[in-house]
Assembly symmetry: C2
Homo-oligomer: 305 residues x 2
């Protein structure tokens, strides 16, 4: 346990500066005896005399006092730095922000989002990590992430959710597939087709639930956690897929052409949301980022519609 308090040091510095307890007390806005007591206590605690008392002529630092006062000034300055760092973290839109993003959301939105935010708030530094839903939520709880971008599915109660966009799921087909001639495709038409499932949580649950809601049990032919692999398999004509995220363009990595068709039924949408912990108090930076995300997705949404 440290032998002194920062306040005592501040007082001692003020005394040194003014050369008098009375003047220093006035500047500090406290009574002279309070200062006298504080100084005496500090000297006692440190076990040395900081000031020489001159009756009726104020005080001057002792040789040891002079040395320690220099150190004290450093320490107080350090404290002020600390304080600045802490208020920055809460009040000002600057500082570090660590965002987690669901795998399939990150590449589609994060680049523009990050670039836009950095432009608007140059003093902020965003860090982005991708991860599975579980990882993201654990990361929030363990303090790894400030905020997390994910699909609003099976949200635990301790998360504070801000919905950003509701995306229609769509059917992905090989461009040459018979069903691709339709404008809209019914899930019932797909019941017997081989289903290539994007196998990550919570997407997996979500897509199977779409079929289940229509009383259909889909024929899952492949399951892969990689979006691009799923697209590639569809491109090779091995089946169809259901997806929410829309990568730019309708070609696979290996050049096959794909067809994207809406679902004719009225199904549950895929809701992209920004999540924080309910138990985590918002800082200025955090809420600014949240607002930025909301308006960012509103712009995209209206633009695409």
């Amino acid at each position: 346990m440290l032998k002194f308090t920062l306040r005592q040091l501040e007082y001692a510095l003020a005394i040194a500066e003014h050369g008098s307890l009375a003047k220093a007390a006035q500047h500090l806005g406290i009574a002279q005896p309070s200062l006298s007591a504080s100084l005496q206590k500090l000297e006692e605690q440190l076990g040395l005399q900081l000031f020489i008392r001159h009756h009726a002529q104020g005080v001057t630092p002792s040789p040891q006092g002079l040395r320690l006062l220099n150190e004290a000034r450093n320490l107080i300055d350090h404290g002020l730095d600390f304080e600045r760092a802490s208020t920055d973290a809460s009040d000002v839109v600057e500082g570090d922000l660590t965002i987690g993003s669901f795998h399939t959301i990150a590449p589609a939105y994060a680049p523009k989002l990050i670039a836009g935010f950095q432009r608007a708030h140059p003093k902020s530094r965003l860090k982005l990590e991708e991860g599975a839903q579980e990882h993201l939520i654990d990361g929030l709880r363990s303090g790894r992430y400030d905020q997390v971008l994910l699909y609003k599915l099976d949200m635990p109660g301790d998360l504070k959710i801000t919905e950003l966009a509701a995306l229609e799921p769509y059917v992905l087909l090989n461009a040459g597939h018979a069903l691709s001639r339709k404008r809209k495709i019914s899930l019932h038409d797909l019941a017997l087709e081989p289903f290539i499932l994007l196998d990550v949580l919570p997407s997996r649950t979500y897509f199977t639930r779409l079929f289940v809601s229509q009383g259909i049990t889909p024929r899952i032919s492949f399951a892969s956690p990689s979006l691009e692999l799923v697209r590639g398999l569809v491109g090779q004509g091995l089946g169809f897929s259901l997806l929410v995220t829309r990568p730019f363009g309708d070609h696979t990595y290996d050049g096959e052409k794909l067809a994207i068709r809406p679902i004719s039924e009225d199904v549950e949408k895929g809701v992209i949301a920004l999540a924080t912990l309910h138990s985590l108090r918002q800082t200025r930076l955090i809420s600014t980022f949240e607002e930025f995300c909301v308006s960012f997705f509103r712009k995209i949404h209206s633009g695409k519609k």
Copy 2:
């Protein structure tokens, strides 16, 4: 005024280290609710949340908390450094000590004194300044010197005096002077001789007082503040001098031979003393130096006698 206390930071660091208020409280030797209160207050004062609370599973630092805890650790370390510096200044025989010495005392004793002390306490750093009596006493009062070596003459009451040695004053003559044939010289024999006075305070007062105590008014032919100049003038046969300090050897800077003779009367001795302010509390280093001086002069004294 700083928004936080060092204690709060120490507590916060302990919490981070143990991941739990209860455990941290135990290690700190305080009750858990005290820690809880301290943390809440710190968070409120800094305006941000440092820890995420996990019911029944302790706490983990929030992202901002993590950043600030690092800063806090630095600050606390800085505080510990400061504390070490301060205890060093009072308890341990190391650190800086500034000594003032009267002009004529310094060259005769200081070199051996300093060298010996440094050898005994290698971690100490002595600084020596020469000066006139007035300067030395002012220097003590203003905090310039920790201690001062001087002649104990007309000591103000606010100085704490430690006598180190009582030296017999002596008569200094040109080696060819008629009086130099005597073993001892009476002040009365010198009454009509030209007196070359070492003109610094308090020496001046002291030497004139020696004559006055015998009812003699000396014939002052020269007065100089420089010891070597006085010796030189005596060497040229311009008169005699009275001195206390004994430089090694009996030749002047310009090679003249001098004669040193005791005074036959029983006169006031020249007392070398170490002085500090009564109002300045002793540190370990200071009292160690004082003891060292006492034994140093005792050794010289017994050796010379």
